[in-house]
Amino acid sequence: MNDFNTVIEISNLNKRFKSIVAVNNLNLKVLKGDVFGFLGPNGAGKSTTIRLLLSLIAPNSGTINIFGNSLKEHRKMILARVGAIVEKPDFYNYLSAYKNLEILAKISGIEVKQTRIFELLELVGLKERYKSKIKTYSHGMKQRLGIAQALLHDPELIILDEPTTGLDPFGMKEIRDLIIRLSKEEKKTIFLSSHILSEIEMIADRMVIINKGSTIVEGDVKELLNTDSLKVIFEVNDIDTSKSVLENTKWYKKITSITGNNLTFTLEQNEISEINRFLVEKEIAVSAVIPKRSLEEYFLKITSEAN
């Protein structure tokens, strides 16, 4: 059942391509204001799901409700409130960036002022190249323009499929900051599919991991990542002394591996500082503490279990 707070609700969604099952009884719910991480290994059905959400393809069965309305029955009304990047950013190569945005605005049925287009081009760092034809753009520039076109009509829901692909680290950070700003300040709902797990970990509130077209786990990012204990690597200056001081302590049995000068422990969150203090007191220099308990590990664990 839809409530006011639900932006996307997918129920028992199925999509087959001949004998290949791309989406298999998928269920998920995206709440208003969420930055919703959409994860899954290659071929898990992420892009197919996004195409279904945007009515690029039709499901074999199941329902998609967006803003509380059936996508099938209220497609135009829904798409007027949705901005999206689907896979790689493609534009009309023989037109300029400005002309592309102008055309897309007109197709969207909105009166977009020249200033709005320049504002968006400035936001994504392409204002200087507004006259250049897209065929002269790099992949990263097209990706930025993809973000601009998704925001053109000021949508409430933004669906981003790998938005930072092809960007340099500086550009990736800019886009991440933009997503956070859109979510926090402009209260947009963001549906974010990404292969960069640290990105999801950094900016998503809730997430779903899918595999073979089905939901494996869905929930609050922080809650999901806190369900198990953490793996933490302590990089020490003297591995032999470290081993001997740790022997006969409660910490020793928590060591999961020793590699070079690295001691890897399985710990609870509050134990990290405790063990660090213990090592320092024993005059062992700890040059780095690296938590390994990340989304990447969680993702690998969850998806390999499902396989």
Partner: protein, 279 residues
């Protein structure tokens, strides 16, 4: 809808391939005019050599009308190939470029997309024929002036008074637009099936060539099929140069060609409505 049509029209005319047809006509037709200016009288004498034995031909027979009629006869068969270059790209071009995603994720219906694209293809076809009319008839009248039109058929010769010709040309060009719209519809239909523009262009050309060959070979089995081939009706613009005008035959041709357009567009629309966009 008008906005969408304008956008599609702009997209068509921002592509280099669109101008190939205009350039081809723009180069070829003046060349024919030049050749006629230099050698036209010899050509006319050759065509009328048997007539001159029995009749005295007076007046300006080497005129803009006659040359335009010759050009239309020769070029009209080749114009479909220029139409397919653009029409075959209308839908498949979006798939190749990946821009279907931009279009279909906007708040417009697929039917609006297909109608606006088809209208852009129709506008291109009409403009190309209009350009042919300007280059052949317009330029021909400027260079050679008006005069009686001599139409030589296998069984008869008709000479139209110069005051009785222009309207026939206008209707013939109008009919040619209808014929080229069938070609446009066929290429548009093939364009909806694939994700690369080369396929629809080659397939449409292949269909036209096969149909023309079947129409040209005079054997019983092909004679039976001939009334069902649209290529057979595309050249029926010549019916406007009959005296008297066979209105029923012209209306029948218009009906058949319009039927082709409606059917091909209808099938394309159904395919496009159900198409999964995977490009």
């Amino acid at each position: 809808m008008l906005t969408l049509f304008k956008i599609e029209f702009l997209k068509v005319f921002k592509k280099w391939r669109t101008y190939i047809g205009f350039i081809a006509v723009g180069v070829l037709v003046p060349l024919v005019h030049l050749a006629m200016y230099l050698e036209g009288q010899n050509s006319l004498d050759f065509i009328t050599r048997d007539l001159q034995n029995s009749f005295l031909l007076v007046g300006n027979l080497l005129n803009g009308y006659w040359i335009s009629y010759i050009i239309l006869n020769v070029i009209a068969v080749h114009i479909p190939f220029l139409i397919t270059l653009v029409a075959g790209d209308l839908l498949a071009g979006e798939a190749t470029a990946g821009t279907y995603r931009l279009l279909i994720t906007r708040p417009i219906s697929r039917m609006e997309i297909i109608i606006s694209k088809f209208l852009a293809g129709f506008a291109y076809s009409a403009l190309l024929i209009l350009w042919l009319a300007i280059m052949s008839l317009g330029l021909g009248l400027v260079i050679f002036g008006a005069g009686e039109l001599l139409v030589v058929r296998s069984e008869l010769i008709i000479i139209f008074d110069k005051t009785d010709v222009l309207w026939r040309f206008l209707l013939a060009y109008g009919f040619a637009i209808l014929g080229m719209t069938v070609v446009c519809s066929l290429a548009f239909f093939f364009s909806s099936l694939v994700e690369n523009a080369i396929g629809p262009i080659i397939t449409t050309m292949a269909v036209i060539i096969i149909f023309i060959i079947i129409s040209a070979i005079d054997v019983d089995i092909f004679r039976m099929v001939k009334p069902y081939l649209f290529t057979n009706y595309i050249l029926k613009w010549r019916d406007f140069f009959n005296d008297p005008l066979d209105t029923n035959q012209i209306l029948n041709s218009i009906f058949v060609l319009s039927g082709h357009i409606i059917t091909l567009f209808g099938i394309t629309a159904i395919i496009f409505q159900k198409k999964d966009i995977l490009s």
